[in-house]
């Protein structure tokens, strides 16, 4: 089928506009991280007066970026692993079993994700504070508090996506394993999980991105002891100077692992979204 001229014009206009719109902020971020401080304090320029990697060195001293990095990495990794395990069990139940309350569960879980964060931020904060005063378990200002909060943020979407993936795996496979004497848990481990690996990867990436980028709860639940990058990155501007070059350098550093991971595995992600249809 030949492409008509208007369609081609449309494509060129759309792609050009969106490329500019997408690229400019990314370019500004990358190039500003390579500028000396005086460049980012004066009028903007498209190219540094001198190209320097100094911001990438200084940024670790201006704020304790390394400690934020460690906090974010631990919180995001643990939350991802836990959320993945919990989601695997839940999705297995939804995909392979009929039981009373099944659709109630799915509906409730999905709709919790739609709630305004501020609605449960305040009570959760107070519940955490009260757990501390009554039971001595500190949750505000610790990584544990963040981890259990974040893992629930990615759970609904993870369960939904994984259940779709599991649905796409022929039931004959695990039925056959059961005939061979496998219990349900062994069938899950030896048959379903290996077949669902792309789905698992997609869900893990999604969970990690969610925890790595969360701002609202981090701004309330963190103190100096457990501050994550989401909040820490904003502290460059509370110093006497606004070190925009270091902020941009730090933004690049915190983005690179996520962006590369996501872009490499985006096919999994799209496949996860269409899971039911493709298989």
């Amino acid at each position: 089928m030949r492409e008509t001229n208007p369609a081609k014009v449309f494509r060129i206009v759309v792609v050009t506009f969106l490329t500019i719109f997408t690229v400019i902020p990314v370019y500004v971020m990358v190039i500003s991280g390579l500028k000396p401080l005086k460049d980012v304090q004066g009028a903007f320029s498209w190219w540094p007066s001198t190209l320097t990697v100094q911001p990438y060195i200084d940024m670790w001293q201006t704020v304790p970026l390394a400690s934020y990095f460690v906090n974010s990495a631990i919180v995001a990794t643990v939350a991802t692993v836990l959320s993945l395990i919990i989601a695997i069990f839940a999705s297995y139940a939804i995909s392979r079993y009929q039981f009373r309350g099944r659709s109630l569960f799915s509906t409730t879980v999905l709709s919790t994700q739609m709630l305004p964060g501020v609605l449960f931020l305040l009570p959760l904060f107070l519940i955490f504070v009260n757990i501390n005063t009554n039971f001595g378990i500190q949750l505000v200002g610790t990584r544990t508090g963040l981890i259990i909060t974040y893992l629930t943020f990615s759970l609904p979407f993870s369960i939904w996506m994984l259940a779709g993936y599991f649905d796409g795996i022929p039931r004959e496979l695990d039925e056959a394993a059961k005939v061979d004497g496998c219990g349900p848990m062994r069938a899950l481990l030896t048959v379903i999980l290996p077949a669902a690996r792309p789905g698992l990867v997609a869900v893990a990436i999604y969970s990690f991105m969610t925890s790595w980028g969360e701002v609202l709860f981090a701004s309330v639940m963190t103190t100096d002891a457990n501050r994550t990058l989401a909040v820490g990155l904003q502290l460059y501007s509370t110093q006497t100077n606004v070190y925009w070059n270091q902020i941009m350098a730090a933004s690049v550093v915190v983005s690179i692992p996520i962006v590369i991971g996501f872009l490499l595995l985006q096919k999994n992600f799209v496949a996860g979204l269409t899971a039911g249809a493709v298989k």
Partner: protein, 351 residues
Amino acid sequence: MKGRGPHSAAPPLPLFQSSEERWVFAVSASTTTSKSAGASAKAPRGGTRKNRRPGWWLPYALLAPAVVFELVIHVIPMVTGIWMSFLKLTKMFISNWGNAPFIGFKNYAVALDFNAAVGSGLLKSFLITCAFTILVVAISWGLGMAAAVALQRKFFGRGFFRTLFLVPYALPMYAGIIAWKFMLQKDNGALNHILYDNLGLPGDKPFWLIGDNAFAAVVIVAIWRLWPFAFLMLMAGLQSIPNDVYEASAVDGARPLRQWSAITLPMLRPVNMVLLLVMFLWTFNDFNTPFVLFGGSQPPAGDLISFHIYNASFLTWNFGSGAAMSVLLLLFLLVVSGIYLIIMNRRSHRA
């Protein structure tokens, strides 16, 4: 709840209604009636109520961890939040809020008294958020749709642009917004440089993060963040439209615009239905964009409702009033979502 009705073969509104609760069926429903039918074929496995089969508890055990965490982090705090909205929960009662006095609907009365400062602030913030949401969702959807359609056909470099357009979505949220914050600075920002130095607009460089321009700023940044998600979902939806449908209509002499309105749009209907609702809810609740963009200063023009409630609660430490505002926000979202779902459902039954 026992078994599944025949309607589950073609779920009209998978998000809240059908027994296949997952959106995946919304995304795929256009071409997967056979798949959904296959899914419901497994229905008769469930045990009857009287004779429980051995192992009936297994699915519950599998769900238990998820249920516990959802209860602890979402459901209990939400119920607590509704309870808090009836308390006089000010600074003095924070660490001992069991003793906060019950004051009935007083927090609500204050929040809804539009003649007083608190109420009029909330109303203004609500109206700004409505305008913000309409603009951001409409434009993001339009851009996502345009990009998905433009990249539907194979051409040299298609894979590259597809990846490029997903970058704003892949970036950690705050990193993208901080880059915009720098770009929107008055004297050293890139936007004013482009508009006034490169394109030669007359006049003085304006502030973007202070004053009325703050609204435009927060809208643009939110669109930049959101449109790739629309693109991603619509792209996934387009993949399920078989190519021969287009070929056939081209043979009949249909032009691209007509093909879009006669084939693409109806086929994407299930995706759009869920996509628009999700984008609406996310955008209306958006906290990150104003929080990272404006930080401590709250320009009235960019005072979105989540940000407003957050500041109202944590600056004054009046959590009772903040909780009442949150409940009002929740009620509004429930009503709008409910109406939306009813209308959409009715239409798809008629179709």
